[in-house]
């Protein structure tokens, strides 16, 4: 707020008294508001201190070192370990489901978003029905449906499991083949190396393309390099695969996908994809039609037109709202707590149920979520800056 124009002509030495000075008033106003809010917060805080003292509930974070006294299935965690370690596993599980969910939801959402603009009538209508049906249904209803309706009802019991040889589906979990007898770090290193190889080849091909005008074919060359490094690397470390098997009432070998994890993930992906589809559709429509027409005039194929001309420009528009959806997915993964998936919220809820003080425990969970949100937004902002149209 700037000072209103004052008439300076009549008396030059008459100064504005402080109670009419806009700057002073503005400061007085905000200091007053600030202290009123502060007083309210202090009132809440003192209530909290009195009430917890009266009931003998601790307000510090010492509970983190207590034994957790609950077990987490699917993790190397027994009930004597500390609450702190339980939080770490919970946080890891939240990150795990978020990353997988974000990747799958982006793929599905982009496909459906493109489908809504397809020239094919059936594809267009099916995509529209999907988006309108899912977007207007509460996520929790969808999640309840995938958990109670699909996993626990449609999937067979372990005795009658659907055994496809390499995949076993039952309501005890889904068994898929997985490597064994090597450290995860070595495998991760190979995959990382393969990505670096892809990146280097892509850079080289782009250079060649710019010098000679030849097609870059990054996908082809890069993908081949990736596969090559991956296969050679894996052959060198020599992991063996195990197939899932049914041993009595347990799934053995391979890796078991927990039914809770599966149903929560599917619901998150289905729901978020419907939101992403709308973003993708809007962004594609925001790309000037002339761009697509110019691509057609250059005799690019439909796929090339989409992947080389339209989508890269649409992605630029889509990044900020996509980032919001990723944040929503991370936050929505907290609903996994209602379906026995051991993520951050569930761990917090259980440890509070076991006698940890509620306010510090949930405060810690909130801190983790806010931190995750900030980190994700930082990545989104980075991507946004990287892809933003460079203007004068």
């Amino acid at each position: 707020m700037t000072a209103p124009p004052t008439t300076k002509a009549p008396v030059p030495e008459a100064r504005t008294p402080f109670y009419r000075n806009v700057k002073v008033l503005a400061w007085a106003f905000q200091v007053t508001v600030f202290f009123v809010v502060l007083a309210f917060l202090l009132w809440l805080w003192s209530n909290y201190l009195t009430n917890t003292a009266n009931s003998g509930i601790p307000t510090n974070f010492d509970f983190l070192s207590n034994p957790a006294s609950f077990a987490i299935p699917g993790a190397e965690f027994d009930s004597n370990e500390s609450v702190r370690n339980a939080y770490v596993i919970g946080l890891m599980n939240t990150i795990r489901i978020s990353i997988v969910g974000i990747i799958l939801a982006t793929i599905l959402g982009t496909l459906i978003g493109i489908g809504r603009l397809s020239k094919n009538w059936i594809v267009r209508k099916l995509s529209t029905v999907y988006v309108e049906a899912i977007r207007n249904t509460p996520l929790l209803v969808i999640m309840t449906f995938t958990f109670l309706g699909v996993v626990l009802q449609v999937m067979p019991t372990i005795e009658e499991a659907w055994n496809l040889g390499f995949i076993i589906v039952s309501n005890r979990g889904i068994g898929v083949p997985w490597y064994s007898e090597v450290s995860g770090a070595a495998l991760f290193a190979v995959v990382a190396l393969a990505f670096v190889g892809w990146w280097a080849v892509a850079k080289w091909r782009h250079g060649v393309s710019e010098r000679t005008g030849e097609l870059a074919r990054v996908g082809l060359y890069g993908g081949l390099t990736f596969l090559l490094i991956w296969i050679v690397g894996w052959w060198l470390i020599g992991p063996t695969f195990t197939l899932p098997m049914i041993d009595g009432r347990q799934l053995e070998g391979g890796i078991r996908i927990d039914p809770s994890y599966f149903s929560v993930l599917i619901a998150l992906v289905i729901y978020t994809a419907s939101q992403i589809a709308e973003i993708v559709r809007g962004s594609i429509q925001a790309v000037p039609v002339g761009q697509g027409e110019a691509a057609s005039a250059l005799a690019l194929s439909g796929f090339q037109r989409m992947s080389l001309i339209v989508l890269p420009q649409a992605m630029r528009i889509a990044i900020p709202p996509l980032g919001n959806q990723y944040l929503n997915l991370i936050k929505n993964s907290s609903l996994g707590a209602a379906f026995a998936y051991f993520e951050l919220t569930n761990v917090t809820q259980i440890t509070v149920g076991n006698g940890s003080p509620a306010v510090p425990a949930f405060f810690l969970a909130l801190v983790f979520y806010v931190a995750l949100s900030f980190i994700t937004s930082a990545f989104v902002n980075l991507a946004n800056r990287r892809f933003k149209l460079v203007e004068r």
Binding site: M1, P4, A26, W27, F29, Q30, V31, V33, F34, V37, L44, N47, Y48, N51, T52, K119, N120, W121, I122, V123, K125, L126, E132, A133, R135, N136, T137, P138, L139, L140, V141, I142, T144, F145, L148, G149, Q153, P288, G290, L327, K331, N332, S334, L335, A337, A338, T345, T348, Q349, V352, A358, V359, F362, A365, L366, Y369, V370, L372, S373, F374
Partner: protein, 418 residues
């Protein structure tokens, strides 16, 4: 971007036959034909499955028997007349508001219904709200008593009477005093209805779909003033206010509603004197308000940014004070532009009220659906799918209708196009 006028190609003016349509939309290329056949088969299969489920295989007895539990929870039977009166009065209220808007639009010449005849007007209404009418009719058909029929009939009559009254009032110019009385009256009716209803059944016992609807409405209404204040603070040049509101908005937007509800469930009583320990429904509404205030603030901030600088500069040039600049010039334009986004936020909150059922153990629509499948008559028959489909349908009808209305309003207001 260069703007070129693309002339309508003469081919599209020819009336194309069915064969042409099929070729253009389904069998353009060979790949297209394969896709059409595969997805066509899939859609036919899905349609048949859905049809069979809804009309043949679905065991809807569980919904019919538990309809009251799902809609209003354990609302005492002897207090049902209170609810009926509340619905009828709110019908009248809604009718008056719709009529007022219609009358005002007629005066201002912005009415979309002006050029329509009676038949077109009815078909427009059916297209926009037919789903809701059909759903209410469906629910009425599932009841076994006359009470709900009578209530809805009276509510409809009240809405029509209210519409007529509102239109008559809206077509006239009133003095400032009469305007204020009218506004206070319109704001007072819902408050009066609320007090009347809570006197019969305390807020703590509001359950079922009724809880989902009312708590979402309460959350969005209560969060609105907080959101406006936060948005104004965030845009102001006062550093203390600005940083405080940014901190609030970003922290709340970074935390999941579910965790906040769980926190409220176990710890809200610690933060107030013991005598004030709130009930579950109050906890839910408080959390909804705290949560959506941050989102409303961001929406309002967007609206404030959409008002051109020239507006406030012109107001300043006219010598209006900072308060008057904001309240008379900037906010009215900003708030008008945010109505569609506000509806979107209401839909989101409406869907998120289901979280309160799980987090706080309130017997809302979703929780009720889980509970009825555990009744002795229905246990172990896998009826959860029927129950969930019913729940999803009710939420879907509400959200879908509202989102379409918000899109319509967005087009009408021309948000983003000017």
């Amino acid at each position: 971007m260069t703007v070129t006028a693309t002339p309508q190609s003469p081919a599209s003016e020819r009336k194309p036959g069915a064969g042409y349509w099929l070729k253009k939309n389904l069998f353009r290329t060979r790949l297209d034909s394969v896709i059409s056949v595969v997805f066509g088969a899939l859609s036919v299969y899905l349609l048949v499955r859905v049809f069979l489920f809804v009309f043949v295989n679905g065991r809807w007895e569980i919904i019919r028997v538990n309809l009251k539990l799902l809609l209003v929870g354990r609302w005492p039977s002897e207090e049902m007349t209170v609810l009926a009166v509340a619905i009828i009065v709110m019908g009248l209220w809604g009718g008056v508001i719709a009529g007022l808007i219609a009358g005002r639009q007629r005066l201002a010449g912005t009415s979309t219904a002006a050029g329509m005849n009676a038949a077109e007007r009815v078909s427009d209404l059916v297209r926009r709200f037919g789903l809701i009418f059909a759903t209410i009719l469906l629910l009425l058909l599932l009841t076994s008593t006359a009470g709900p029929w009578l209530t809805m009939l009276l509510a409809l009559v009240a809405a029509l009477v209210g519409y007529w009254l509102g239109r008559v009032a809206g077509l006239r110019k009133w003095g400032a005093l009469a305007n204020w009385v009218g506004v206070l009256l319109l704001a007072g009716i819902p408050i009066g209805v609320f007090l009347y209803t809570t006197a019969a059944t305390p807020l703590a016992e509001w359950e079922g779909f009724f809880f989902n609807l009312t708590s979402a409405a309460a959350g969005i209404i209560l969060s609105f003033p907080i959101g406006v204040v936060l948005a104004l603070s965030r845009r102001s040049k006062l550093p203390l206010l600005k940083s405080a509101s940014i901190a609030y908005i970003e922290v709340v937007r970074g935390s999941p509603l579910f965790v906040l509800l769980l926190l409220a469930n176990v710890s809200l009583e610690f933060f107030v004197p013991a005598a004030l320990a709130p009930s579950k429904v109050v906890r839910a509404i408080v959390t909804f308000t705290i949560f959506s205030a941050a989102y409303v603030a961001e929406i309002v901030r967007g609206g404030l940014q959409s008002v051109p600088n020239g507006q406030s500069e012109a107001a300043k040039a006219l010598g209006l004070s900072a308060y008057k600049q904001t309240s008379l010039i900037v906010l009215p334009q900003a708030l008008r532009n945010v109505i569609p986004a506000q509806i979107g936020q209401f839909i989101a909150l409406f869907k998120d009220t289901t979280l309160a059922g799980v987090a706080l153990g309130i017997l809302d629509l979703l929780n009720g659906a889980g509970a009825i499948t555990q009744q002795p008559d229905f246990r172990g028959q896998g009826l959860i799918i029927e129950a969930l489909v019913f729940v999803a349908f009710l939420f879907w009808v509400g959200s879908f209708t509202m989102s379409r209305e918000s899109q319509r309003l967005e087009r009408k207001l021309g948000v983003g196009t000017r």
